[in-house]
């Protein structure tokens, strides 16, 4: 296997690990806000900003692996 192939495999594995960690973390974060927040407006805004900020970043990481 070439050095480039090893690196690509490693980076692909890194993406999958990051994606799994992101999903688990997001579920935990979502649960805590739904369960313990006292203000629905702040809760909805926080969750919206979180997903709007993180999903594109995760998508960019995926694009760099599978497209670029």
């Amino acid at each position: 296997m070439s050095y480039t192939g090893d690196l690509t495999t490693l980076l692909t594995l890194g993406f999958y690990v990051l994606a799994i960690f992101y999903v688990i973390f997001s579920v935990i974060l979502y649960y805590h806000w739904m369960q313990y927040a006292v203000d629905a407006r702040v809760r909805n805004l926080s969750l919206a900003v979180y997903f709007l900020a993180t999903i594109p970043l995760l998508g960019l990481v995926g694009v760099m692996i599978f497209v670029a």
Binding site: L18, Y36, V38, D39, S46, A53, T54, V61, A68
Partner: protein, 186 residues
């Protein structure tokens, strides 16, 4: 929402809800923001350096890798930032006309909810220490109760601690009057 789960007593009124001072979370998020932009800063500095052919070849040939690294780093920093924000927002003091409920979100699966009855409150101390806390008016509130299990509780970074102390003191006096009045009618 949380207020339903706290189960206030019949007729119990919420006087105030208090979170930590905005400076506390700003400082934490600022630290994370500095860490987040660090790779971009390093790249900007490298880009301004005098032309080094080997370095130029390395950087231009590895744009997807660099983008991958920076995006992954920013994603991790964003998640850490929201962890900080969540812990800040879910920490809460609820002052009612009968008790103080202290909610301490220590971690994602570590939450402490303590309830202290006003009539058992013995002493409230306020400490404001340092230039920035003095200028921005935030500090530590420490209360002592006559409870068997936990006699003290405290929180740092509380905004307008003297105002909170006055609110608690007023609520305590009112509560003791009510209980004193109930005692004399028996």
């Amino acid at each position: 929402m949380l207020y339903e789960k706290i189960e206030l007593e019949a007729g119990e009124q919420i006087l105030d809800t208090v979170r930590k001072h905005w400076f506390v979370i700003t400082l934490e998020l600022l630290g994370l923001a500095c860490l987040a932009v660090l790779p971009l800063l390093v790249l900007s500095i490298v880009a301004t350096l005098p032309e080094i052919p080997a370095l130029d070849t390395l950087l231009t040939g590895q744009v997807p890798l660099i983008t991958y690294g920076i995006a992954a780093w920013l994603l991790i920093m964003t998640m850490m930032g929201f962890t900080v924000w969540t812990h800040y927002y879910l920490d809460l003091w609820i002052i009612t006309d009968r008790r103080i409920i202290v909610i301490d979100q220590r971690g994602f699966f570590n939450r402490k909810v303590s309830s202290f009855r006003l009539e058992r409150m013995q002493d409230i101390k306020v400490t404001i220490q340092g230039i920035i806390p003095t200028l921005l008016n935030f500090g530590t509130i420490r209360a002592q109760t006559a409870g068997a299990n936990e006699s003290n509780f405290q929180s740092g970074g509380m905004p307008d601690p003297r105002g909170i102390q006055a609110t608690i003191q007023g609520a305590m006096d009112a509560r003791l009057k009510v209980l004193g009045g109930m005692g004399t009618t028996l």
